[in-house]
Symmetry: C2
DNA sequence: GTATCCATTACCAAACTTGGTAGTATCCCT
DNA sequence: AGGGATACTACCAAGTTTGGTAATGGATAC
């Protein structure tokens, strides 16, 4: 008994058997658990201490994505590999958001599953090509645009930054040790440069154009 | 001469030769061009009509990421596969933003390069495990948070939405055909529910919690 | 049916924001 | 040395926002 310890959650009994056989033959993996539902994930993991969890999505009771969240919150070192028939954006992204470390479709070659398990165990991110494409494309669309430069001076950025954090003119003056009127002077310049005419517009623009790391 | 038509941009002559040999032996690919710089990308592609472009990043003259942008803007059907030594987040994400369809490190196995070329040609997104991990993790961090529910009423959401767009109380009153004082009443409730005490904070919170599709 | 939430309006007084104009001082560039 | 950008200060007047408290009618919930 050695190698990477794996457990699987899938309500399809014969699939669990196939995986068990596959892992058994390989020699590099040990299947230390197999369950048809996620009703008792926490205990299942506490008892078996796996390195990698193979997780289906559509199961009776608690669904696999919820289970991933639970696992990642309670056992941060355990890697989760999704193994499912679903390839719709919503499920894929939800699984990643929940903390899955890889996403393989059930129609993949058995050999690829073994490879994916070691990869996810070694900190990689195995994905079937179609999934990788989805992720890459979505990722592409989400990357920040070339951010416009409004030529704000250092001081102006500082003031705007505080404004975004909810500070009033008076508070900003206090924070920066300058007078209220100086803050006003900066604000006037900022409004001019951003082409806005109120605090709310300035804040909205600053956040939307990602002028600051607000989150 | 048949198979997938490939051209390569890389200032390392011997690497170009190796790739040429590799592709030649495989039978499934045809190298129809090899260039040490991207000074004339557009013509290079117009003349060779490749299916896939293999692109280095660090080259004299125009850098590979800029070149990807040019290619994707002018020849949207041509797939670009990055083949470079760089694995820092900045370059990886920049390449993806520029439109690269795959990203392979130069230390990968030759066999994997061939596989990656067909994959990118077939609409996949080949990445070396480390790159896939970077992308997945960044992607994970960028996916929208579970959005909190502040139990805003319809009307309150409407008012807050306008506020985020830069409207003043008075303007909101006009837009919604209600009195100024009614707007004020809604605002008071909103502040209470959002736990804020000024327009700027409300706007910042609304945008950051993605309560509205602002962008 | 009575309690609770929602949308609406109203008024007061205090505090805050905005646009205008105007001046001083420093630093960098040519 | 002069031109230009930046940082700072100041005052006025008009307009806006905020926190109170209070009241009405409608809808929904138990």
């Amino acid at each position: 008994m050695n190698g990477i310890k794996v457990i699987i959650f899938d309500d399809n009994d014969s699939l669990r058997d196939s995986v068990a056989m596959l892992l058994g033959e390989s020699g590099d993996f040990t299947l230390v658990g197999g369950y048809a539902d996620c009703l008792d994930v926490r205990n299942n993991i506490r008892n078996t201490k796996p390195d990698v969890v193979i997780m289906d999505i559509d199961m009776p009771g608690i669904n696999g994505i919820e289970a991933v969240r639970v696992i990642r919150n309670n056992f941060p070192t355990v890697q989760v590999l999704m193994l499912t028939v679903f390839d719709d954006d919503e499920k894929v992204f939800a699984a990643i958001k929940a903390g899955a470390g890889g996403y393989i479709l059930k129609n993949a070659e058995p050999q690829n599953l073994l490879h994916a398990i070691s990869e996810v165990y070694n900190g990689g991110a195995p994905m079937t090509p179609g999934i990788a494409k989805k992720v890459l494309h979505q990722f592409h669309d989400m990357l920040p645009e070339e951010k416009k430069d409004y030529h704000l001076s250092m001081r102006e950025k500082e003031v705007l930054g505080l404004l975004v954090e909810g500070y009033s003119y008076k508070m900003i003056a206090g924070k920066l040790n300058i007078t209220y009127d100086t803050v006003r002077a900066h604000m006037k310049k900022i409004y001019e440069k951003l082409h806005v005419a109120s605090m709310t517009e300035a804040v909205a623009k600053a956040i939307n154009q990602k002028l600051f790391p607000t989150k």
